[in-house]
Amino acid sequence: MSPAQWDLPPELCCRPMAFVALTGLDVVYNAIHRAIWDAFCANRRADRVPISFKVLAGDHEYPKCRTKRTSYEWYIPKGILKTGWMNKHLNLVPALVVLFYELDWDDPQWKEKQSECATKVEIVRDKFFSHRTSLQGRNTKVAVVLIQKKTPLPPGEDLVASERASALCGACDLSGKSLFVLPHTDHLVGYIIRLENAFYEHAQTYYYNEIRRVKSHKEFLNKTTHQLLFVRHQFKMGFFSELKQDTQNALKYYRTAYVLINELRAHETNMLEIKTMAGFVNYKICRLCFQHNTPLDAIAQFRKHIDLCKKKIGSAELAFEHTAWMSKQFQSFGDLFDEAIKLGLTAIQTQNPGFYYQQGAYYAQERKQQAGQLCGHEPGVGYPAPDPLETASGALDFYGQRPWRQGHQSIDPPDSEKEKQGILALQVKERDVLHSELIIALLSNAVAQFKKYKCPRMKSHLMVQMGEEYYHAKDYTKALKLLDYVMCDYRTERWWSLLTSILCTALKCSYLMGQVKDYITYSMELVGRASILPEEQKSRIEKNLIKVLMNEVPEPEPDCDPVSVKAAQSLWSDRISLAGNNEITIEVQDYAPFVQCKAKFLSPSFHIDEPVQLHVYVRADCPHPVRFSKLCVSLSNQEYNQYCLLEDASKGKDILESSSQENMCLVPGKTRKYCFKFVAKTEDVGKKVEIMSVGLMLGRETGRYVYLTWRGGWGDAASSHETLQASRCFKKRTRFPEQQVDWDTVSIQSSTMIISRVPKISVQLTHEPPTLTNEMYCMTVTIQSEEGTVAKDLKLTAGLKPGQDANLTQSTQITLNGSEVCDDSHPALLPDIPLGDLQPGQKIVKPLYIRCVSTGSRILLFHVAYSVSATVEGKDITCKCHKDETVTVETVVPFEVAMKFVSSKFEHLERVYVDIPFLLMMDILSASPWPIELVNSEVQLASSMTAIDQPMSQVEGVTLQTSECASECFLLKCPPVQNGTSTVASGHYIISWKRKSASAETSMVRTIITLPHVMVENIPLYIHAELPSFGCVRESLPVRYRLENRTGLVQDVEISVEPSDAFMFSGLKQVRMRILPGGEQEMLYNFYPLMAGYQVLPQLNINLMRFPNISSQLLRRFLPSRIFVKPQGRNGDTSIEAA
């Protein structure tokens, strides 16, 4: 029997369909027949009735029908189900035979044709009747289809047709229902479909009758001898119902069948048959349940099935048969389940085909194991001859029976010797079965399923099992591939127990394949903290690891297949012999090897003039001390690597042999600290130095060596979690002896900044804030060196600190030269003013002048850079140092200048009059907190103004204290202007000043102020009076009024003097006069004061006829309004004269 003996027969698994045979068709030579046949076969979609057609010769031999026995009295059934039965009804015994015959109603030789057709029918019928005499046989019906060329007339119209039809039926003894006409026209397919539907009905009735026939046997059976038949009949009815497409009833029959099977008396000899049939029926039931979309019923049935059959092991020597069968049960259920899902059923995480495949796999594994135990015959034992598994027919009569005792139903085997041979044969066969293949196939099915249903862990687990199975099957490559793939899942989830077991298998594989790198990697993890192996195991592995590192052949792993070990050993010795490429690099972050590492800078930043210090902590947690030959740190700047390197000087061969550097031996559980220091490069100032990786070399260049690297200087697959735990952990703080530290307390500092050396100079600023706008503000920088050695090429950068308001840059200027006055050409910041060298203790004083054109506050920067040579770790370096001083200064205006125009009488003027003198007055109000000296002042008049007398400064040399005010005035007049009035510019006022400062001699600043514009106006008549400066009571007071006509016209002027209580007067009281162009008139009055004190002069009313709009009080403005009158006294005059 083939290893596939447990596969379910195809006739069981297929979907049964009614079988209809077509005869009388010559599909090879006759095109028409061909077309008809094709129409039957072509696209049989779900909407076509489920029939399987076959074209058979007219005289085809159908299976003979055995004579139906009249009673079951003496009948003992030999088995449950004949192996041929299902196939017979699917493919051999048609439900209907259709005879095709070409015949038109109006055929000339109708008679002949009719009889020919009749005989053909006859022939077909004969084939079903074994004995002409008996009338019984198959219930198979025969139908006739007349292929006609003409399209038939509608029924009833063609009398000939109906008449001949009935004749034909008579001749062939057919019922009218069994005669069909197939007009061979273009609507062929349509006709065919009609036809097959008709056939289908016939078939259904046929199977219906079959079911009834089988049922009818029931009353003849008795419970004692015929249980097998009960089962058989139920099964058959179920099967026929399926053929009839009546799945509901089919299910019913099968269920009863299943019950009956379990009622059968089971014993070792028929166990297999019972299980086989149970399996069949169960399969049918589950299949139908899924088909009816009641998956839970299917699952329930299956569970019941399993529970019932689990214990039905059968003969102990053939236990593997049982497990094989069980495995198959699960597998085929899995298949059914999966199929149902493909057809739209939805499964869930906890109920999916995967579980069944998995279970199938487990049974397959068990089978393998049993096979191992039961089939381990010594080589001598061969396959028995004659072959007990041979049968006469080459096949079995009944499902699930033993070839050497078919049909035997009694409890104990008839021939114990044969029995032995048979069993032996089976065992020998089992021995050759490739179990692993079966197992792996099932597992991978399961994997696919669990992947689909979100079970990553289940998936990994199954993959582990696959890996292990491959290992057993000696396919180490595949095994390793799988194991290596899933390993990380268990590592990241920290399931060390599982990881360990996987690693162990992986280690075996890598050993057997002589995979050095894998071997080393796995060993490293297996002896480490992530492994739960017992010490002695770890120690064994470590010893092997060391062997490998010394380029020797490791001891084989325990319980490996001896043959493979042989192969492995030679593999290894080859590996050893071939030189070169003995370096292996392992990046630890994906593993948890037995060496741990932490590297840290001692500080987050180092000054350039101190050595950068770096500690590397290494710790091993393997059973035996291990020596490493090299420890190196690679930093972001490669140049430093050379200083962070520890190498074993003694190139000793043996890793265990003690060498000069004792500290290169890692003692389990002890943390070793390695200190490195180096002097940073001056160009690295301001840069970050990072630990890129730490490398630890185990082994020797001479032998084989492994280079472990920790990216970033620490951390492997396990450490991050450990660190977290440690950080939280309450832990007794215990003193550690020198060179030893508590691993957990070591923190990480994987990068550091190189910062410039602390400057040893002082920078002081002396100045007198605030600055005054436009002045040359002096700031004195005093730099004193506190260095031990000479500070070389000092450079001062001074001025406006960059990054402030842009306008400030425009309005700030700085220079070294106080005498000149800055302008826009000067920068806001003076870079790198060279100051030369500075001896220790020496001092430089540097005045700087800053001019701030606008007010507001500014931040000024004074940056002193220099270089000094220092010795670090006996290494001379020149380090640049710099010191910054910043200061914020306010700028204020030095003084406010107020200006106004006044009349000669110091009266405020909105406007001035042509040729009439007026005063320009200046008030200079100091706003500066410091005294300011007004060096000089001058007015620069515009063309539209003229000074009356030579204007000269009245404030020259004046010094103003805070909020003091200086004033001066200038007498001016305006030359005539065309057209009555206009606004004219007046010119500029220039003040030269400087801050009066005790300290630095400051240079003078010229501040130019633009004079305001003023409105100038022509006037037609000018009048002024001449009179003494005072009068006396009762003494005459002569007053002369002059009137000037300033026009080119003759003017009539009317003048009157108003009477006043204070004066008497003589002269014209009222007069009207004429003044020629440019001419002038005088009027003389004698006033006679009556009372003393300031007296209002008698008011003069002037009336210009030509210019009525010029009011008299406007003109009056030119005249004095009052005069002082002294009281009368004897010698008052003299006394006053004296005064």
């Binding site: 309450f730 007794k732 703080r733 215990t734």
Partner: protein
């Protein structure tokens, strides 16, 4: 769904849990800070003392017990009133010395050590030392100098917890209650 707690009512129990855990956190913190158990015990005792000297007012205020006439009475007050009040347990007073100046408090259960399991490396830790300090401090405030120590401790595998108290002397009023 509302989680309206019924626990609000019996919050005493809760609090005692809070107390127990907090005390636990303290002890472990001390274990971190100090090198050996003896120092930890000392520190706990000291802290207990500080608590004691302040706790006594609270006690006298709320439990209206007056001055005790003798040490025996004190013992009873401690066991029946004080312990009940603050730890919700009532130790039994036993093993009086003939002189009547020394006795034992037997605690069947000790709230401080609920859930506590001593790790191996702390064999000398007297976990509940705080209690000794409290008693000492409190009594000192009522002019009683006593010596308190743990004689047995369930944590250390004894089947009861026993606090041994010894009367030393009466402190005169004017004397400063000085210890630390």
């Amino acid at each position: 769904m509302s989680r309206q707690s019924n626990r609000a009512t019996d919050s005493k129990k809760m609090n005692s849990e809070l107390f127990t855990l907090t005390y636990g956190a303290l002890v472990t913190q001390l274990c971190k800070d100090y090198e050996n158990d003896e120092e930890v015990n000392k520190q706990l005792d000291k802290m207990g003392y500080n608590i004691g000297v302040r706790l006594i007012e609270d006690f006298l205020a709320r439990s209206s017990v007056g001055r005790c006439h003798d040490f025996r009475e004190t013992a009873d007050v401690i066991a029946k009133v004080a312990f009940k009040m603050y730890l919700g347990i009532t130790p039994s007073v036993t093993n009086w010395s003939p002189a009547g100046d020394e006795f034992s408090l037997i605690l069947e259960s000790n709230p401080l050590v609920d859930f506590v399991e001593l790790p191996d490396n702390h064999n000398n830790l007297v976990y509940s030392s705080l209690l000794c300090g409290v008693l000492r401090g409190a009594l000192e405030m009522v002019q009683m100098a006593v010596d308190v120590r743990f004689a047995q401790d369930t944590l250390r595998g004894d089947n009861v917890t026993e606090i041994r108290m010894k009367f030393i002397k009466r402190i005169e009023e004017n004397m400063p209650a000085g210890d630390e």
